[in-house]
Each structure stands twice: as C-alpha cells, then as structure tokens.
Amino acid sequence: MIAAQFDYKVPNSLEEAVSLIAADPDGSKILAGGHSLIPAMKLRLAQPQVLVDIARIKSLAYIREQGDEILIGATTTHYQLESSALLRQICPLLPLCAASIGDVQVRNKGTIGGSLAHSDPAGDWPAAALALKAELVLIGQGGERVVKADDFFVDFLTTDLQPGEILREIRIKKPTGKFGHAYEKVPHPASGFAVVGVAVNLSLKADGSCESASIGVTGVGVKAYRPNGAESALSGSSLNDAAVIEAASHACDGVDLNNDLFASGEYRCHLAKVHTRRAIAKAKASAK
C-alpha cells in the first residue's frame, strides 16, 4: 500500500497550476482532496509522476451568490457544502447530496471538483450536477471554456476534461419560484458510495402541478445520466401518485446497466425506479 514515487508541486495560483501541468500534461495529475486519487495511487492503479496540489490554493474554495447564479469553487469540500446555511436555503439539493457522501472524515477532505472530475460511476455529485443543469468552468493553457453537465460526463471515469485542463468552478442557476429538491440514495454498506442515487429538481406551478423536472441518476450505468423519459413524463403532470409511478418506471430506459459482485444490473434498475419514485415524492413534499 505504498504509492510509486512522484514529485509534489504546490502552486500559489490557478495560473501557476495550469502551467505546472502544461509542462507534462500526461504524467501530471491534479491533487484535490485526494480521496479518490490517493487510494488509487496506493494500489498503483494510478502512478502519476507529478502531483499538483490545488487544494492549497485558498481562493479556489468558495460558495457565492452572483446575480441569478450560485458559484462554487472546485476545491470546496463536501463538508463545506453540507454545512452551508446559504445553500440549505437557496439550493437544498447541494447540502442533501453532500451529506450523503461517505463519512465525516471523507466529507472533511473530499471536494466537489475532484468528485466531478473523477466521474466515479457510484459518485454522488454527478447526479446533483445533472439535476441542477450545472455548468462547469474549465481552464487550460488555451484559456477558459464552459461545459454543460449534460456534456461533461463521457464514460466510465471519463469526462470532457482534456489533458492539462483544470475544473475551476461549478455554476448553477438559482432555483426560482416554487421548487422542490430531493436526493435519495442506497449507500454501499462498507464505503458509502451510491449503489444507486437519484437527485430530483422539480419546478412547480402555483396549483402544485409540475412545470418541469430534471433528474440525475448515479450508480446504475457506467456514468451518471438524466432519465429523459422520466423527466418528460413529469413535465406538465399533476404529480399525483399514478403520474409519479409512471414517470419513475422510465428511470433506467436505454441505460447500459452496471453489473458487479455487489449488485446486478437488474437489481440496480429496480432500485433506480423505486428511488426515483421516492425522490420525486420527497421533492414535491418539500416544495416551497
């Protein structure tokens, strides 16, 4: 359980981090909370030559309101998101998701940016980022670009981040009007990772019917996704029990299901439907 040798670099700014990585984009890795990367390095599944520790750049951890958006710095920890009074008020899905991750020690150290960049098929943040239609700000030598969460998660442990690019910020439109959020998860009993996790973001009309819904599902396939069938079934519906059950039945339509020792694809799909139904009901009940 000893990592291969590497060189450790501490940039003072994001710009310095970008140029340190640019020196060897394939041999270097960003280190944030280290709670996915260090376990992989200890098993020598990852053997980077250089680690660039961005968690030491203080200005990269923040939660801020700006105009109609919420801005979150990439190295903001799960615990900072879980305990943010501002977010509990204006975007409860973020603290709900954060609180479901691993255990206290993991939440004290792990970061939202690291989790999104890692794109673990059982990671929680990708589900919330999809449900909130987050935009991700990436910075590289060529400058900045903004990628929608919908386009960011590409495949198993693979995102749209190019070698040398750093995820700098997560941007989310502040939910407005009457809305409800919920995160429902079946945690793996040992690690806490999601066997299945469902994030629901409902926007309601004054009469309580559904204006629109966006949903993120993790744990079920090789990457988190939005179940389009379920979302469109909800849109305009009355959100009565029958409508919710019908929508949830589309939770894993067309998904290439994960099969492993812990849970078969069929079981994960079943869990996804049950928990999509529960998450929609909870989001509706929480709507204000």
Binding site: Y8, P39, Y79, V106
Partner: protein, 157 residues
C-alpha cells in the same frame, strides 16, 4: 526527491524531510514515534488512523505528509491536558467504551469532532457521526454511551 515540511503536532513545531509518497499516518508513527494513531485497514474505511488536521477529523492513511505542510495536527497523544483526560477520553473510561482499544484513538478524535459541531447530539446523530469508524469488539453501544457522557460532562450536567 525529499521535501521539507514544517508543521505543528500536538502543539510542538516539527521540521522534517520526507518523501512525497510518505503517508501522514506513517510520518506520525514512524518518524515522530506517535504510535497512538493506528493503521487498521489502510484502505480509508476503518477510521483507526483518524487525526485532527486544522480542527477537522481526517483519515491519515489517505493523505500524504507533504499535504499538511504549515498545518496543525492533533493526535490522540494531544488530547489530555496536564494529565487530565479530555471529556471524550473520560467517557470511554467511565462507560467502558473499549475492549481491545485498537479503534479507540480514531473513535475519540471523530467523537471530539462530532461534539464540536453538535454539542448535544441524539443517539442517531452519534451513530451517524461515527460512521467512518469501525469497531470489531464493542458492538458500539458503550461507545455511544461514552459520547453521551462526554456531551453531558461538557455541558456541565
């Protein structure tokens, strides 16, 4: 290539040259000789290696020592002051919160974090707060009571 680190451990300033790949837990145990911090699983799951890093409980088997440059670390050896036990330590003593004691240092650090954030936790909140710490001996009941004891002791009840 070794790298110098400066930090404070239980209030004592330290400067050491370490390989970047040296885990924090190995630095504490093997370089500083602070063997109260245990290695249970080495896979980030058991919590026996938990220490306070700038006031936050972390698993020292899942960090490199170079990451804590400039920080303050508190290990179990730093919990008692002038021979007087920390309320959580006293709770484990009074409520029989340990058997073999292997998980205890990590349990105490995590429990102290829990009480700093929530001075009067319910039993359920205590269980949730200690999710990242495994005990193979006690069945947890006495550990929960130890934390309840510490909470009421701190509240002066």
């Amino acid at each position: 290539m070794k790298r110098a680190i400066n930090l404070s451990v239980n209030g004592v300033a330290r400067t050491d040259e370490v390989e970047p790949r040296l885990l924090l837990v190995h630095y504490l145990r093997e370089v500083l000789g602070l063997t109260g911090t245990h290695v249970g699983c080495e896979t980030s799951l058991c919590g026996a290696c938990t220490v306070m890093l700038d006031g936050q409980a972390v698993k020292s088997c899942t960090m490199f020592a170079v990451q804590v440059e400039g920080s303050e670390i508190k290990t179990i050896e730093g919990f008692a002051t002038n021979g007087e036990l920390h309320p959580v330590q006293e709770g484990f003593w009074e409520k029989h919160g340990l058997q073999c004691g292997y998980c205890t240092p990590g349990m105490i650090v995590t429990a102290a974090q829990l009480l700093e954030r929530n001075a009067n936790p319910s039993r359920e909140e205590i269980c949730r707060g200690l999710e990242g710490n495994l005990c193979r001996c006690t069945g947890y009941q006495h550990i929960i009571e130890a934390v309840e004891y510490a909470a009421s002791k701190t509240a002066g009840k």
